[in-house]
């Protein structure tokens, strides 16, 4: 008998088949003596085990058994809090999604707020001979290149086409759209 069929017979015995498959197995068992005898053996084993689990009891007296549990609980209680009461668990379950939603709302609000100051990120710091820092304002689509003067000021980078420049004495800023 094929193993697939053996497993299907067993699944029928365990009520794990759909009605159509169960009917198929019922017919098979009725017409195939080999399938019927295998099914009988599986059934006998299942029935023997049912309600006949060997009885076992703890081989220690109650105080000894409990004392080890209690010691472990107390040891762990010194490093972590005792179990949260059920109301705290329920509160945590309610608040967790709310906290997530609040965080998402805050991010969206910041992203969409037209009055918020532009967020600029430094995107490069590669100049040699003098200090420069480049920042990008994604919302305005502008790069800011900040040049800090050194004791021997370098030439301005060639090819740059600044839209605006500012000079406050110690540094000047080129805004590139």
């Amino acid at each position: 008998m094929k193993h697939d069929l053996e497993l299907k017979l067993q699944a029928w015995l365990d009520a794990e088949l759909s009605a159509a498959e169960a009917e198929q197995m019922r017919r098979r068992a009725a017409s195939d003596p080999e399938a019927a005898s295998l099914l009988a053996e599986l059934q006998n084993t299942k029935s023997a085990l049912l309600q006949n689990e060997p009885a076992v009891t703890v081989p220690e007296a109650r105080p000894f058994y409990w004392s080890k549990i209690q010691r472990q609980i107390q040891r762990q209680a010194s490093v972590r809090p005792s179990p949260a009461p059920p109301w705290a668990e329920r509160l945590r379950r309610w608040l967790a999604p709310l906290a997530g939603a609040a965080a998402l709302a805050a991010v969206l609000l910041l992203a969409l707020n037209p009055f918020a100051p532009p967020v600029v990120n430094q995107v490069s710091d590669m100049a040699e001979g003098f200090q420069t820092r480049t920042f990008r304002d994604d919302s305005a689509g502008i790069n800011f290149v900040v040049f800090h003067q050194t004791p021997q000021p370098s030439d301005a980078p060639a090819g740059a086409a600044p839209a605006h420049t500012r000079n406050d004495g110690s540094s000047f800023v080129i805004e590139v759209e």
């Binding site: 365990d14 794990e16 599986l42 009891t57 703890v58 109650r62 609980i73």
Partner: protein, 198 residues
């Protein structure tokens, strides 16, 4: 603090233990310790390991009491905890064990493939105590995988998909293991020996 009696209900004891009443929890341990230990012993087949794992399960139970919602009985909830600990332990032991030819054969139903069908029923007419003693001896001789799947299906009444989740394997593997476990159990209950087949 109330003076907890043997006949206090699980619901009352759990409620108090959830508020931090250690004496209520001790009473829960006293009432269900045999069941939790028995499950650990049936899976591990070793008294010391069963004691350690069942006690660890109670410690975990205390820590997770806040999560117990009463969807199942407290005893069932505790049994699931000890089953998980035993499965973890068996996995650790399996990793240490070499993949012997015998272990691989067990997985694919090596000897069980060649077993003749055991009929008539080898347990018919047995006294209950004798039947239980034979089942106990037979469980001793099964591989960890076969014993576990039988325990979860026949004693814990779990469905295939629940067992697959617990044992972290496919439903097909569960079906195959259960089939070979039953066949082997049938032969052990009948008192057959391997020599007969060789």
């Amino acid at each position: 603090m109330p003076d907890w009696q043997d006949n206090s209900s699980d619901a009352d004891l759990v409620r108090s233990a959830q508020q931090g009443d250690m004496r209520a929890f001790e009473e829960l341990v006293a009432q269900h310790r045999d069941r939790v230990y028995a499950r650990a012993y049936s899976m591990m087949r070793n008294e010391d390991e069963a004691l350690d794992l069942s006690q660890d399960a109670w410690v975990k139970g205390w820590q997770r009491l806040g999560q117990f919602q009463g969807d199942s009985s407290f005893a069932t909830w505790m049994t699931r905890i000890v089953i998980n600990l035993c499965l973890d332990q068996l996995r650790k032991l399996k990793r240490k064990r070499a993949d012997s030819l015998e272990a691989m054969e067990e997985e694919s139903g090596g000897i069980e493939r060649r077993l003749p069908v055991i009929l008539p029923n080898p347990t018919e007419g047995l006294e209950r105590a004798e039947l239980r003693a034979r089942i106990d001896r037979a469980l001793d001789q099964l591989s960890d995988e076969h014993r576990t799947v039988l325990i979860l299906h026949e004693f814990e009444q779990m469905e295939y998909k629940q067992i697959a989740r617990q044992m972290q394997c496919s439903i097909g593997t569960v079906m195959s293991r259960l089939f070979y476990a039953r066949r082997r159990m049938a032969s052990l209950l009948a008192g057959l020996r391997r020599e007969i087949l060789e």
